[in-house]
């Protein structure tokens, strides 16, 4: 039975105003008629709208998922605009508007710790251009040269005649000024807003429950859908018996989703979910039904010694050097699959007709969602639109794949003219993720008779993210992301040690689970491999772990600076009572140099992480207070993964379905975290991702210092260890 309520824009707007009264949407509601569109405030340029009451609306292209990029970007525009920070508010242009305006706002994707650093020039120029146009408008009005006018804090002054005006008064005229082409940006030493720990723009609404996330979207006449995909990834749906739930209350339709799933559409989400739970379904589980964590581990283990290594870094002759080494040290580590566990499960709301496809969703890439909506609906891009909500967590899940948009569009296509919200259950989300890939690492080091490290071979065996997500980005058959933190040079992920003979290679083995970008990506396990093994080598030669590293880092001053900072401020070398220990770790990833010194006390199997002293050098720090919070937040994520995470596979299925079996760190377990931002200038590194990677190895090294025991496989709950 087809449910086809009449959905007209007027009732939508009225309904939305009521539903969203006082709520902060961040985007304009879709306006059906051009007259209303014209009422929108005139913009000075694409980046800045100045209202008559001096409110400055800054357009933000990236997604806000808690990482604070919204505020950082606004700071950068406001800095060059020279407006009053207290007057600043924000707006998210839609990807459709971006495409229609020839991508005036640039990239929308929010991932790879790129939000600030790849935007910075574009948005700062946008703010500067707007300021120049405002000043030009004032100068024209006063009939004086532009050079005699000064802009500051939202006011323009003609110094010679002491005349002043405000941005709000000249905004209308400024919009008509020819946009400048020669734009000079401020010298960082003159920054007044960038570099300050200003309060975030989104916090007040979030604390008052006003923020609208994708899961909160409610449209008049909206139906809800619950979705199930084959429990074994890669499997297909064979059949389902809709007749068995035909009489269930509120059920409107049962639809197959492509070749892998089925959805129930109903009047409430609970009706949809419970009906779907009772729907008889026959799956064709496909070729991976017998895969388990054990079979995966055995397969990966073969890759530790196989001949199919793809080389990521090579220097000298490792084989010869190892053969001639006075002493060889070897260790094998393994890091498991991890799930993103965004607090907001995957969802999207779609209104589809043959002429137009609109999507409301939490996405890390508005343009990708737009492209997906077009591809899935068959409606051309100019007739599609995506309205980005705030994200209840992204961490890479909402960037890796827009699958939650695609399936929601396919489902909504079954109800043309009716908005349908598809919301995944937690169980569906947990078992159908795009997981941090599973890897093992065999490390072989050669020391000479004076205990110098002369050779090191890192063989990583495991899953490639790019092969599973974007094969077009592979380079010569290799996945370059695999070698994060191992690179010999470059601006992003350089290995911080000088070893005369080095080989880093990867035996690519791709199990059937979808791989994905999990905050930090490959540096998470690579930093554990590198930094824990460094400690093992230091122990082997009887040297202090800091001294052992320093010797190897003379050619890497920025890596060393972060490490030295945390060692000094973490009281490295000062005595600790028995049962307590300190551990160090440093890495470079996403362009930033990060380090941590952790201090733990271990009693039996209980690990108390007392304190972590952290340092991050991202080149420039737009909002240092936010960076400190990002570091702490990333430690929650990384330590949760280390102690409590780990996705297991049995009979082809993901075992963990909810937080009862995939727990999270709690506030009481959180250590004191002291972060110093060490911006040395001259480059733009990321913050959202690199900082996470040093927490786990620093804590692991501290545990070994405290107990003498070394752990090489994770999560730590498998060894009975708990955080207290």
């Amino acid at each position: 039975m087809n449910y086809q309520p009449k959905f007209d824009r007027r009732s939508f707007l009225a309904g939305s105003a009521a539903a969203f009264g006082g709520l902060s949407l961040g985007f304009h509601l879709p306006l059906g008629d051009t007259a209303a569109a014209a009422e929108m405030e005139p913009e000075v340029n694409a980046w800045v709208v100045v209202k008559p009451d001096e409110t400055v609306v800054i357009r933000i292209a990236r997604s806000e998922m808690g990482q604070g990029t919204l505020t950082g970007l606004a700071q950068m525009v406001a800095e060059e605009l020279d407006c009053e920070w207290s007057k600043v508010t924000y707006e998210f242009p839609t990807p459709g508007e971006n495409v229609a305006r020839k991508r005036v706002w640039g990239d929308f994707f929010t991932a790879g710790s790129q939000g600030i650093r790849s935007s910075n020039e574009l948005v700062r120029k946008g703010g500067a251009a707007a300021r120049m146009m405002l000043v030009a408008a004032a100068a024209a009005d006063w009939k004086v040269p532009v050079a005699e006018c000064v802009a500051a804090d939202g006011k323009i002054t003609h110094t010679a005649s002491n005349r002043t005006t405000t941005y709000g008064k000249v905004a209308g005229a400024a919009a008509k000024v020819e946009p400048p082409t020669d734009i000079k940006l401020k010298d960082p030493k003159d920054w007044k807003i960038i570099g300050k720990g200003v309060k975030r723009l989104d916090t007040p609404d979030k604390t008052q429950g006003k923020t609208v996330y994708g899961i909160d979207i409610r449209l008049p006449g909206m139906l809800y859908a619950s979705l199930k995909a084959c429990p074994v990834n890669g499997g297909k749906i064979k059949s389902f018996d809709a007749a068995k739930i035909a009489d269930r209350k509120g059920v409107k339709k049962v639809v197959q989703v492509e070749d892998y799933g089925v959805a129930v559409i109903a009047d409430t989400w609970w009706h949809a979910k419970t009906a779907l739970d009772d729907l008889p379904i026959v799956w064709d589980e496909g070729p991976s039904a017998k895969v388990s964590s054990e079979t995966i581990a055995a397969w990966l283990k073969e890759g530790l010694d196989s001949n199919d290594g793809l080389v990521g870094n090579k220097g000298g002759d490792v084989d010869a050097a190892l053969a001639g080494a006075a002493k060889k040290v070897e260790a094998v580590y393994a890091y498991p699959y991890q799930h993103h566990v965004t607090m907001e499960p995957q969802n999207a709301t779609v209104l589809y007709t043959t002429d137009k496809c609109e999507v409301w969703c939490s996405t890390q890439n508005g343009e990708a969602a737009l492209a997906t909506a077009s591809e899935a609906s068959g409606v051309p891009v100019p007739k599609c639109e995506v309205y980005k909500t705030f994200l209840g967590g992204g961490f890479g899940r909402r960037a890796t794949s827009q699958d939650y948009v695609r399936s929601a569009v396919m489902i909504a296509k079954e109800m043309p003219g009716t908005p349908v919200k598809t919301l995944w259950t937690r169980e569906e989300d947990m078992t159908h993720g795009w997981y941090h890939p599973v890897t093992q690492c065999k490390m072989t080091a050669g020391l000479d008779k004076d205990n110098n490290l002369v050779a090191i071979h890192y063989r990583v065996s495991g899953q490639s993210i790019l092969a599973g997500v974007m094969p077009a980005r592979m380079q010569d058959g290799k996945d370059p992301a695999t070698f994060s933190g191992f690179y010999a040079g470059g601006a992003e992920a350089v290995y911080g040690y000088s070893v005369p003979n080095i080989l880093v290679d990867h035996s690519m083995r791709n199990p059937h689970l979808h791989p994905g970008f999990w905050r930090g990506v490959n540096i998470n396990h690579n930093a554990i491999y590198i930094e824990c093994f460094m400690d093992e080598l230091a122990k082997e030669v009887g040297m202090d772990p800091l001294e052992f590293r320093r010797k190897l880092m003379q050619q890497h001053p920025l890596h060393l600076a972060s490490l030295n900072h945390v060692a000094e401020h973490g009281d490295w070398g000062k005595p600790l009572p028995a049962g307590s220990g300190r551990g160090l770790a440093q890495a470079m990833a996403f362009g930033s140099y990060v380090a941590a010194c952790a201090e733990v006390t271990v009693t039996g199997n209980s690990v108390k992480i007392n304190r972590i002293v952290a340092a991050t050098n991202p080149g420039y720090g737009v909002n240092p207070a936010q960076i400190e919070r990002q570091v702490s937040g990333s430690f929650v994520y990384g330590l949760t993964g280390l102690f409590l995470g780990g996705i297991e596979v049995k009979d082809g299925r993901v075992v963990q379905e909810n937080f009862d079996t995939y727990d999270m760190m709690r506030i009481a377990q959180m250590p004191e975290v002291r972060t110093t931002v060490l911006p040395t200038g001259g480059f733009w590194g990321g913050v959202g991702e690199p900082t996470i990677c040093v927490a786990a190895p620093a804590v692991l090294n501290a545990i070994t210092a405290a107990t003498g025991k070394r752990y090489r496989t994770f999560p730590l709950r498998n060894h009975g260890l708990t955080m207290v």
Binding site: S113, A399, T400, Q402, A481, E492
Partner: protein, 159 residues
Amino acid sequence: MVKSNRKNAARRMSRRQLLGAVAGVVAAIRVAPARATPASMQEAIRNVVGEAQVTKGKVHLDVPVLVDNGNTVPLSIEVESPMTATDYVKAIHVFNELNPLPNVISVHLGPRAGRAKVSTRFRLADTQTVVAIAEMSDGTFWSASADVVVTLQACLETL
């Protein structure tokens, strides 16, 4: 791809030459960085077109303006031509700027093709310009280009 007949033996020769030229281009690209560039795309086009002038027109290149994942991008090219024995499209060549190799596909046609229209799917490594060039039976070359945005959805370090 339409099989050539005996009358087009000359064209068959030129296809081998084309393949040779392409192979030459391929070899050249391999020693360079693992990516094409706008410059190497121009070189690849020169390899096909020689010194002849390329005029914008007659070619309709249909590719989405925004693409989610560059893995399977739909591509459709149609060239205005009566496709008669004396006035037809000899070949349609597609080039790109930033994939590992600048050549995407070369399709050889004859009057028996009926219409000069090709639809397929191809891979795009990144946001870039795609160029389609039609080689006519009278020796002229016509082109169209399109900018495709591949939404980069990755936590990738720019290596």
